[in-house]
């Protein structure tokens, strides 16, 4: 089962998406964890987290984006421009960060030049940068507008009942992923970081009901495997979006095992549950806006530091890799203060800036990870 999950995580398209599409169903992509997937699910649409995996060139990305921009959205644009996202019926762009929000314009402009790359439903979703009563009200309105737009475009109705059901299904998935966290944090780790990340990536790349079933089976399989990794140095990964399994494997090849993370292609996507007892739109707005674990939510440094501390303590880590994609100032700068504050508490940290996309920096990264491993050994 892990092999099947790896297949999903190592490519953009996968057999679940193909089956879904062959059934005449719709897929809508989104680049950031601030988009409530439950809304799409309730509309009978497959929510699909956009990624840049498998990018080999940035010829299209660099044509529309300027020169000092994060390579993550550039890679997404590249794949879109190449037609790799032709299975999408829609895309929702958020202002996750400035590089990400400009995917809206760059994709639209590329769509003027390259026929057929712009999905029929193309939507800009504004997410506030703070958590207050009025920002949550704004976000509720924004979600309701998105609901209407989806209903109008896809000629469907999103009922309250469907939303509640979707919330329940997604919460089930989140609970299962939290079980995975528990397994990763155990003394005798039975799953490596690469596979754990593959599972988390699969959660936003396939129908959630199928994922929940697959994950339950995988967790049983993993528990029984007994293939422990005792004795390896236990690391946590913090920082920018990372869905690059090769990057995790490179780290683990140095004699470590990645047992925890706070990334958005990681624990950040399932740390909180949606309240199932209140109005579903209000509950979604509160959950998605309030998990302020992304530095795009300015002024919540202490909360994020506290989250890292708790996560690190639960997983009994030996060190933290604070990584950021180049030009991601939000994570990069915050990593600088994390390093200061966590080192002061005796937690070894290594800051690393890297490019997203084809892992062309293997040698440099390996050398730095090896040096860090020497330090904590």
């Amino acid at each position: 089962m892990i092999a099947e999950i790896r297949d999903i995580a190592y490519s953009v398209n996968n057999r679940y998406v193909e089956t879904w599409k062959n059934g005449g169903n719709k897929v809508v992509g989104f680049p950031c964890t601030f988009v409530p997937e439950e809304i799409l699910h309730a509309a009978g649409i497959l929510p699909f987290r956009l990624r840049g995996v498998g990018t080999k060139t940035l010829s299209i990305g660099d044509t529309y984006y300027g020169p000092v921009i994060c390579s993550f959205p550039k890679c997404i644009l590249q794949l879109a421009g190449q037609g790799d996202y032709s299975f999408l019926d829609g895309t929702i762009i958020t202002n996750g960060c400035d590089s990400m929000r400009r995917l809206d314009e760059c994709w639209r402009k590329a769509g003027e030049d390259i026929e057929g790359i712009l999905p029929g439903f193309f939507y800009y979703f504004g997410v506030p940068h703070k958590v207050t009563d009025y920002s949550i009200r704004w976000f509720v309105d924004e979600i309701r507008e998105l609901l209407s737009a989806l209903e109008g475009h896809f000629e469907t109705e999103i009922t309250e009942q469907a939303l509640k059901q979707s919330i329940e299904i997604y919460n089930t998935g989140r609970k299962l992923l939290r079980k995975l966290d528990g397994i990763r944090a155990s003394d005798d780790v039975v799953i490596n970081g690469e596979d754990a990340m593959a599972i988390i990536i699969a959660s936003s790349s396939m129908p959630r009901e199928d994922f929940n079933t697959l994950l339950e089976a995988t967790l049983s399989e993993v528990k029984k495997s007994g293939a422990g990794m005792a004795g390896k140095k236990r690391l946590m990964i913090v920082g920018s979006a990372n869905d690059d399994l090769d990057f995790i494997r490179l780290i683990e090849d140095s004699g470590a095992v990645v047992v925890a993370d706070t990334m958005c292609f990681g624990s950040k996507s399932y740390v909180d549950l949606v309240d199932e007892t209140t109005d579903p739109v209000d509950a979604l707005a509160r959950r998605y806006l309030s998990h302020s674990y992304c530095p795009r939510m300015f002024g919540y440094y202490k909360e994020r530091l506290d989250y890292i501390r708790k996560k690190a303590a639960a997983a009994r880590i030996d060190g933290i890799i604070l990584q950021n994609i180049r030009f991601c100032d939000l994570h990069g700068s915050e990593n600088g203060i994390f390093e200061r504050d966590l080192e002061a508490e005796g937690i070894p940290c290594m800051r690393m800036e890297r490019e997203y996309g084809p892992l062309v920096e293997t040698g440099r990264i390996k050398m730095r990870v090896d040096a860090f491993m020497e330090r904590i050994s």
């Binding site: 300027g66 202002n95 400035d98 030009f327 100032d329 990069g332 700068s333 390093e339």
Partner: protein, 469 residues
């Protein structure tokens, strides 16, 4: 950071230099000219400003006074708020809080200091801030992080949703220095009721934060006094903008810098009104004579600098414009969207109007002004949406009859580098020659000033711009 750089506080150094510069014209012309020979590193900068006559001298005196207020604030029992250029300062003046704006303070360093602000820029990176962050904040932030400047008491910014890199600088400063932080967050739309409500609620929440930090309630009389002054200033600014439409433009290019520096630092103060009146006097005279604001009084070309200007050593950007008889018609920093602005015709919903009818209306006025500040207004949503960057640039380029549009930014301008290529392509499609400059406006190490002028000269030559003289 080198030992000698740590010898003096950055803000004290700037004050000391500018305070002395502001006094150079208190004596005779002969004394002033003799002095220039004794200050080889400051001579060009000083003379560029002083040669503007009364407005230049007034600006220097205002800047000296501003820096002095920062240095003496704590002795006088006042709080200092670190903030950003696109944060309208009147609310802080109404609280008698001293605004400390990183970008202008960086700009002063890049203008004045022989080696620019390189060591402060780099110091930020030494303590964990990314080297790809915006140089406009980093240039002075380094001094604050190093403890080489007066420590602020609170931090307020209004760039989340507009410029993440900007907002991040202030969030970083707050987390690094342990200073209370408030961010005004702007939605991606501007003129709809939903956005208006968000602006005002967020603004009121900020007032509560400032009240908490200062221990003072917002004083209605003082607030009214500040707003009455803004009303006067808005009218003067509108007249300047009107006159800029003339061919040739009677406004000296450097007045554009004076104008936005004044709004960022002194909006709502009487000193700025004096500066505006003095500038307007000169511009009116030029207009009556039908001459350009350039030194030669001729105008070869008209440029609209659609984002920011270039601020490295000695005000060379404005010297270059002057030497080439190019009129600076404004940039994103000099459009404020007050009611009555020439560029706001048929776009009244995008403007703000100052009202002193009640406490509520005054607060709402300031909230509306804040939401229309340079960059805050037009970089919040997709660049090609109504009221956003492309719309505004096309409007202003046509209004001011610009021959070309040029883009300068910093290495941190993710918000505009993200789509500037498409933006430039759209402008070209509308028939406006557009140049993207890949320099950093506050750091010559990214691209030398000589390379910048080469590119601008080549662009002007190749596109056949500038045959008016």
């Amino acid at each position: 950071m080198r030992k000698e750089t740590k010898e003096y506080n950055y803000d004290w150094m700037l004050w000391s230099i500018i305070d002395n510069a502001a006094k150079t014209c208190d004596g005779s012309r002969k004394e002033y000219e003799s002095l220039l020979g004794l200050i080889p590193h400051l001579r060009d900068l000083l003379h560029t400003i002083i040669s503007q006559g009364e407005p230049g001298i007034l600006l220097l005196k205002l800047l000296a006074g501003y820096l002095k207020k920062i240095l003496t604030a704590h002795d006088e029992g006042k709080k200092i708020a670190m903030t950003t250029f696109c944060f309208a300062p009147p609310i802080l003046y109404a609280f008698d809080v001293v605004p400390l704006l990183l970008e202008p303070i960086t700009g002063l360093g890049t203008f004045i200091l022989r080696r620019g602000t390189a060591e402060y820029l780099d110091y930020c990176c030494e303590v964990g801030f990314t080297e790809t962050s915006c140089s406009s904040q980093r240039g002075s932030l380094g001094a604050y992080l190093a403890g080489l400047a007066t420590r602020p008491d609170l931090i307020v910014c209004d760039s989340p949703g507009i410029c993440d890199t900007n907002a991040n600088s202030y969030a970083f400063a707050s987390a690094y220095l342990g200073i209370p932080f408030y961010q005004l967050n702007h939605p991606p739309s501007l003129t709809d009721e939903r956005s208006r409500r968000y602006h005002t609620e967020d603004f009121r929440n900020m007032i509560a934060f400032i009240e908490e930090q200062t221990g003072n309630k917002l004083d209605q009389d003082r607030l009214r006094e500040v707003i009455e002054e803004i009303k006067i200033q808005d009218k003067l600014i509108c007249e300047l903008t009107d006159l800029q439409q003339l061919i040739p433009s009677p406004m000296p290019s450097i007045y554009n810098l004076f104008l936005y520096s004044g709004v960022f630092l002194f909006n709502g103060t009487k000193g700025f009104t004096r500066l505006l009146r003095s500038m307007l006097k000169k511009v009116r005279t030029n207009a009556e004579k039908g001459i350009a604001g350039t030194r030669s009084t001729g105008e070869r070309a008209r440029g609209f600098f659609s984002y920011i200007d270039h601020y490295t050593t000695d005000l060379r950007f404005w010297q270059w414009l002057d030497a080439n008889d190019i009129s600076h018609l404004g940039c994103i920093l000099s459009s404020f969207w007050q009611e009555g602005a020439a560029y706001a015709v048929d776009r009244e919903d995008a403007t703000y109007r100052m009202s002193t009818d009640s406490m509520e209306s005054m607060i709402d006025s300031l909230a509306a002004q804040m939401s229309r500040m340079p960059m805050v207004k037009s970089i919040r949503g997709p660049y090609d949406a109504p009221n956003m960057w492309l719309d505004d640039t096309l409007n202003m380029a046509r209004l001011f009859k610009a021959d070309f549009v040029s883009y300068f930014g910093t290495i941190g301008c993710r918000n505009t580098w993200g789509m500037v290529k498409s933006y430039a392509r759209d402008l070209e499609r509308h028939g406006i020659p557009t140049l993207i400059l890949y320099s950093d406006s506050f750091d010559d190490r990214v691209q030398s000033w000589e390379a910048v002028t080469d590119k601008m000269s080549e662009f002007i030559h190749l596109r056949g711009i500038g045959k008016r003289l």
